[in-house]
């Protein structure tokens, strides 16, 4: 993108136009980057959050499943340890009952693992960790969340066994904690036997994982932000470097151009000086000699004085013609007096006379609507194009057209010669090729116009378009002297 402003408009780089383009390019590079990064960040954190939520849920489920199967195992153990008494005992075997209660009272596991027994009416029979409950009825007991704990446990047992979640005091800490219990019936005695595990540590673990995940998400966000910042800085640095490089290139070109202008100017001055010296002043010197001779002859009453006077007159005549030619070559007066169309017509006529090509010219009916510099520029473009055609094109027909459709002044010069490679003629690397074309380009661009060069092996068209606002119809120009 940065390399496309190619050959022709290096002059423009100085102007604010290009600065705007630079800013636009920077904007073009940074805005999508920022947008993309923001989108990615949002998406990543959203996905991470959903994913971790799922993971945490499944982690929790797994933990609970593990706890549940542990519970079952403990209960089997308890069942096994009382089976030999329970199975042989009768429904009202008080001895067997007390034996079972003793066994279950003594049966504990871990720090907080114990068994409890209630009868179906809610009367506590076994509770090794809270002996105060034994012998009392807890049918109406509710936990901190309002759950009728004992009723529900008994219900689960009567249904053949089941899990129940509730809150209960944890023996090791003395604090209320969430608990999951499994209750089974000892149906013969209308007893409910159960044991439970505290799952507050599961919750703690889940919380820890959740914290870790959110930590990691914010970490990722920070990393993405840092990467973005670094990329942005890189983009800016690259932009500045390219800018500097382009500017240096442009400066170099400008230097070359200035040098070329100076050289051309000197060359032109040299040419004019040479012409003045070689033709005009030689003729004037000859006039001076002829006049001196006439003066002497007049004093001597020589009758041939008339012929030498005539000779000096003839020489003056030639001098006048020479001056006219030189001045017209420098700058045609008709451009100022009559306007661009007549000046172009004269140029075309002289061209056709000089080298015998067939030339057709179409111009507008209006004159002197263009500012002087624009007229000159367009005239020079035509002159340069014709010079090129004369030198290189080997054309048979040349067409010049000056028009102003809708006020856009357009000058085109078309030939049917063998064309040239536009790249070659305007290449950047060799400052000597295509100076003429580039010069044209620069002149046109100075007035914000555009110059198009279309060339193939069937001919070349050079088209210059000037912006609309250049046209002026005030009296100053239309009456210019």
């Amino acid at each position: 993108m940065l390399s496309t402003p190619a050959v022709f408009n290096f002059e423009k780089k100085q102007s604010s136009n290009i600065m705007n383009l630079r800013q636009k390019i920077l904007l073009l590079a940074t805005v999508p980057l920022i947008l993309a990064v923001s989108a990615i960040t949002l998406l990543v954190s959203y996905q991470a959050q959903t994913l971790s939520k799922e993971e945490i849920t499944s982690f929790r489920r797994n933990m609970l499943d593990a706890k549940k199967s542990e519970l079952l195992n403990y209960l089997r153990l308890a069942q096994t340890s009382i089976r030999h008494i329970y199975e042989t005992a009768g429904t009202n075997d008080a001895f067997a009952k007390s034996q079972v209660r003793n066994i279950l009272n003594a049966l504990t596991y871990g720090t907080d693992g114990y068994f409890f027994v209630y009868d179906y009416n809610g009367l506590n029979l076994v509770h090794p960790k809270q002996p105060r409950r034994v012998g009392n009825n807890w049918w109406h007991l509710t936990d901190s969340k309002g759950d009728k704990v004992i009723q529900n446990l008994i219900l689960k047992a009567q249904q053949g066994g089941g899990y129940h979640n509730y809150y209960w005091e944890k023996p090791s800490t003395g604090k209320i904690a969430e608990k999951i219990s499994y209750a089974i019936p000892l149906a013969k005695w209308k007893w409910m036997l159960g044991t439970g595990l505290y799952i507050d540590n599961v919750n703690q673990q889940v919380k820890a994982i959740e914290n870790e995940v959110s930590d990691r998400i914010s970490q990722t966000t920070v990393i993405i932000l840092i990467i973005t910042l670094v990329s942005l800085i890189l983009v800016f640095i690259t932009g500045i470097l390219i800018n500097l490089h382009e500017r240096r290139l442009a400066d170099e070109k400008l230097k070359q151009l200035t040098q070329r202008i100076v050289e051309t100017q000197e060359e032109e001055r040299g040419r004019v000086a040479r012409e003045l010296h070689d033709s005009i002043s030689q003729i004037l010197v000859s006039v001076k000699f002829a006049q001196e001779l006439s003066l002497t002859k007049l004093l001597n009453k020589d009758p041939t004085v008339q012929s030498s006077l005539e000779k000096s007159n003839d020489a003056l005549h030639i001098a006048i013609k020479e001056v006219r030619r030189i001045s017209r070559d420098l700058r045609p007066r008709s451009l100022d007096d009559l306007g661009l169309s007549p000046a172009l017509k004269s140029l075309a006529e002289e061209f056709a006379e000089r080298n015998g090509m067939k030339l057709t010219i179409n111009t507008v009916a209006f004159n002197n609507l263009l500012p002087k510099e624009v007229k000159t520029t367009l005239y020079r473009v035509a002159q340069e194009a014709l010079t090129n055609i004369e030198r290189h094109a080997q054309a048979k027909h040349v067409k010049i057209k000056l028009s102003a459709p809708k006020g856009v002044v357009t000058l085109s010069i078309t030939d049917d010669g063998n064309g040239f490679k536009t790249n070659y003629a305007t290449t950047r690397t060799n400052p000597l090729t295509g100076i003429g074309l580039r010069n044209m380009q620069e002149r046109i661009e100075h007035h914000n116009g555009e110059l198009k060069i279309l060339s193939s092996n069937r001919g070349t068209t050079i088209r210059a378009k000037m912006p609309k606002k250049l046209l002026q119809t005030n009296s100053e120009t239309s009456l210019s002297a």
């Binding site: 006048i320 009559l338 507008v364 209006f366 004159n367 609309k468 005030n474 009296s475």
Partner: protein
């Protein structure tokens, strides 16, 4: 010259040395009287209004209205005053432009004074005169003066027309008669090959001749 009347000549040239040179040449001929000198086209018009010369010997390059535009206004206002162009330009565009604007003759400044007098005599008698180089240039390229680009005056009038001014208004604005405006208008239509005023307006807009006519001053 059979009659005793002298040919009254006004010289318009911004170069005093040239002017004096021409005058001293013409002073040698008793039947020619230089009645005035003008340094600009505008001055030529003013002096001619008072002195009513027979012939204006007109240079082209002058400040404040060049010789070509001045010639056109002479043609407009004082048809009886004949304009003879005396110029350095041997360019065909100048010559045909001068003829289009109503000049009766065109001579180059490097011709002999005798030829200048011959030209003045010919034009005074109602003929036309071109110095030898000029007629060759004109002969080489047949160019009918009825077509071709508009003159400055015609362009001004077209612009005023385009902006919706009536003939009367244009005449007042440019200080010329309504009939002259009509003539110009006819000529414009013929040159552009357009028959209606609407067509003229359209043509002018399409070819970029549109802007405020308020800036335009009469000559």
């Amino acid at each position: 010259m059979e009659e005793n009347l002298k040919i009254r000549v006004l010289i318009a040239d911004d170069h005093p040395l040239v002017m004096d040179g021409i005058q001293s040449c013409l002073d040698l001929y008793p039947h020619i009287e230089v009645v005035g000198q003008a340094k600009t086209g505008k001055e030529a018009l003013e002096i001619a209004r008072n002195l009513a010369p027979d012939i204006v010997l007109m240079d082209i390059n002058m400040p404040e209205l060049n010789g070509l535009d001045a010639t056109e206004i002479f043609q407009e206002n004082n048809k009886e005053i004949k304009v003879l162009i005396l110029s350095m330009h041997d360019n065909r565009e100048y010559i045909s432009s001068a003829l289009r604007n109503g000049a009766r003759g065109y001579i180059l400044k490097d011709v002999s004074s005798k030829e200048i007098v011959t030209a003045i005599e010919a034009v005074y008698r109602g003929g036309t005169y071109f110095s030898s180089g000029i007629s060759e240039i004109l002969m080489a390229h047949e160019d009918d003066t009825t077509s071709g680009p508009l003159t400055t005056r015609e362009q001004t009038i077209l612009l005023l027309l385009t902006e919706g001014n009536s003939n009367k208004h244009i005449a007042r604005h440019l200080d010329i008669s309504v009939r002259t405006v009509e003539t110009h208008r006819r000529n414009i239509k013929r040159k552009l090959n357009i028959s209606s005023t609407a067509g003229l307006t359209k043509y002018a807009i399409e070819n970029g001749l549109v802007k405020s006519a308020k800036q335009m001053k009469p000559y």
